[in-house]
Amino acid sequence: MSLMRAHEVGVRYGGSRILRDINFSIDRGEIVTIVGPNGSGKSTFLRVLIGAQTPSEGRVERAPALRIGYVPQRLSIDYTMPITVARFLALSGNSDRTQTAVLLQRVGIADRANRQMIDLSGGEFQRVLLAQALLREPDILVLDEPTQGLDPPAVAAFYRLIEECRQELECAVLLVSHDLHVVMGQSDRVVCLNGHVCCEGTPTAVSAAPAYRALFGLDTEDALALYRHHHDHLHPIESNP
């Protein structure tokens, strides 16, 4: 059975419809990437899947006793909250010190265990968040634009690390990303989202799909087109066969 499954999920917020008619599932060991323009509902969809947002339509099923490791897009710690990296990681429920130390080593911040979270750089902070998610020994790792604030070599290293962790933990990975070309190569499946599922399939199939190319303006040289929404485009390859 799949780890998570969404049936005809829709989300309304106030008067606007953020997501509609989404069918989705992810199996153990799969890496699935969600791409889409800003405001296309990617983060909302992840929040629906992990149970942080109740869908207004449809339903979400999760495998029983599913362990989720979640890395939010933004986690801002208030200056008034004193907390060291080690204490933050212990909150994940795993207090095994050697395991924590090994993990910090792997994400490349072994020397930061006793630092205050608010003193970390953006990149270090993201690594701590990843370590926190991994410490739960998740069945599925859910990452919302995890490489924000990392420079290109760090981004590549970050994805290598995720790939290693997937092999060791045999977990699924579901991520939202802007690093299209980096991510696409490693994904088993890519879902292109813009309020609804525009197209989905293998990275090669999706990057060739007209719906995807139109959405990201890849046929024009206008860089701004990356953010242009094409709500009424036609669907030469229809989603969810």
Partner: protein, 271 residues
């Protein structure tokens, strides 16, 4: 007996409040709930009117009013108005309506000042028992839910993914706040309860590297403020509740000045 001395009773009552307000105040500061505390505390005046009108105990009346206020505000959140507007309306509405309601109770002789600013010197042994019971209940519930409360405070989505329900943790804090308001109204009064929550916690921040130390240091600073404020009020015949809060404010200023000077010294070494 020791409890026969009103000063001993006052000190013990104040210490109970300080011990509970320390850790709870940290959450109020971390979650930016100061206004929320105000709204809950101001509803206490409405609770006082309620308890006189229906001849309930003041603790019961205030507890009910504080609970209703806290849960109402939690529910309204996410509507048209921003949280601070919503709380600004409800906090002052509760205070104003409470004061109006009290004025209708002409048959009852009550000292409004005692409920606005506290009357710690008038705490009797029964009050003392209720205050300790309530305060320790707050400490206990925070202790039991500590890790869950911290995760929910850091990020509610991470908490959800980890199998927690952030709304339940919010409810725990709401409940704890209502209980604290109910037992603290006699000690520092409705207008100064939030001060006892926030000032010791903020004063503890510069000395703390973990949430746990901050909670403990806040409780200690609160206790010192109670003793200091009480001593000052005996010495100079000043109102006790405000004296306690004034003392805490001095600790807050000193702690922040010390931190600022330390940072300057470290920076000048680097130069």
């Amino acid at each position: 007996m020791m409890l026969d001395n009103f000063l001993v009773r006052s000190a013990l009552a104040g210490i109970a409040i300080a011990l509970a307000a320390g850790p709870l105040g940290c959450f109020v500061v971390w979650r930016r709930m100061a206004y929320f505390g105000d709204a809950t505390a101001h509803a206490a005046i409405l609770g006082v009117a309620l308890s006189f009108a229906f001849s309930l105990s003041v603790f019961a009346g205030v507890l009910v009013a504080a609970l209703v206020m806290a849960t109402t505000v939690s529910r309204l959140y996410g509507g048209i108005y921003a949280m601070d507007t919503l709380l600004g309306v409800t906090a002052h509405a509760a205070l104003a309506i409470g004061l109006v309601a009290v004025s209708f109770l002409s048959g009852v002789r009550m000292d409004l000042m005692a409920y606005l600013f506290g009357d710690i010197l008038a705490v009797n042994t029964t009050d003392l028992a209720v205050i300790w019971l309530g305060a320790m209940a707050v400490v206990l519930i925070l202790g039991v839910r500590w890790s869950a409360l911290l995760i929910a405070t850091l990020n509610s989505d991470v908490a959800t993914a980890g199998g927690l329900d952030p709304r339940r943790e919010q409810l725990v804090l709401t409940l704890a706040l209502a209980v604290l308001v109910a037992v603290a109204i006699k000690v520092v009064g409705a207008l100064l309860i939030t001060a006892m929550l926030i000032i010791p916690a903020a004063a503890a921040r510069p000395f703390s590297r973990t949430p746990e130390t901050m909670a403990a240091v806040a409780a200690i600073i609160g206790t010192l403020s109670v003793l200091g404020g009480l001593a000052a009020s005996v010495e100079w015949d000043t109102p006790t509740g405000p004296s306690i809060v004034a003392f805490a404010t001095i600790v807050f200023l000193v702690s922040n000045i010390v931190m600022w000077m330390n940072r300057r010294r470290r920076l000048s070494h680097l130069r």
